[in-house]
Point group: C2
Chain length 190, copies 2
Amino acid sequence: MARWEPDAGPRLVRAALDLIGEQGYAATTVAQIAERAGLTRTTFFRHFADKREVLFAGQEVLGRLLADGIAGAPADATPLAAVAAALDAATAVFTAEQREYGPRLHAVIAENGELAERAAFKRASLRAAIADALRARGVGDPGAGLAAGLGVDAFYRAFERWCDLPAGPTYPELAREELAALRAAAAALG
Amino acid sequence: MARWEPDAGPRLVRAALDLIGEQGYAATTVAQIAERAGLTRTTFFRHFADKREVLFAGQEVLGRLLADGIAGAPADATPLAAVAAALDAATAVFTAEQREYGPRLHAVIAENGELAERAAFKRASLRAAIADALRARGVGDPGAGLAAGLGVDAFYRAFERWCDLPAGPTYPELAREELAALRAAAAALG
DNA sequence: GTCTATACAGTGATAGAC
DNA sequence: GTCTATCACTGTATAGAC
């Protein structure tokens, strides 16, 4: 048996996606995932807090990217302009692999309760991260939470379109488009 | 004469709140909750899908109340007016007991990951229920989701204020106030 | 229709071996 | 620092009792 292989985390993610694609999420055990990655169950839990987390590893850094994008926007930028800058920064890191796995992941999450809960929590966490960063710029309530909500909505709506149209606009372009549409809808409400 | 005591569900909820208040959520087992309620573990799972759900039993009917409130609004009501009507209907059912347990529940949920996830999912479900009801009225996207988001935000922001100020305005009044504030903030964005 | 008894797979934690 | 072993608990399934 070969010595210690690097990239245990990514290998576990790949093994999980393969097995879950074959058997479904509920029927796949952590022991099976670890075995296919050439590791043990204990090692899996050293890399991921729980079984669900292996499917959300990609979203780990998004909160920081978005918050940094807000903080790094020009001092005179409006809240929504800062959100747009954050979306630029966050969407830029997405790879073709993530675009390919996106729909499959979405299907798995949709048909499993615990995964849907984790997804809802991640989404709420992203919104909170953006809202906090906006408040740090002096944006008041409830405007900060509202602008953050528009940003997160634009992010996810654009992701779906990006996955659906591989030959279309870039992810940053779609995110800006969706944010503009949401802004227009918000203005039309009142 | 009944062979068993009635109201098993509420008794389980009460036992759970007591025990969790004493020991914390993680340290409280389903067996303990059932025992204190004079029931068995099996019976607990007949009334609640899982351990977390015993703390969210109150939110069960909210989705339907909100959706029915949307559907029952005057045909010529704007989306936000329909949302306001739904908030009226949903907030009217809240009792003094829920106001009293609100902050305690909030504290328990905040310090426990799985409960925070369940709460995020419930919130997202309420938003989806409102958005679907708005779309059934012919409201388009992304306006329906946006208005639904404002409604849910108003609902939760008003609940916090309602719990904080026992002698203040009624819950429906606070909800309308918050919705108006969010509407103004939305208008100010664009 | 509501409750109980029992057995089971799997998660997630922990303590210790090497 | 990775593994083995073990453990309490959750959540499911199936049986039957009142």
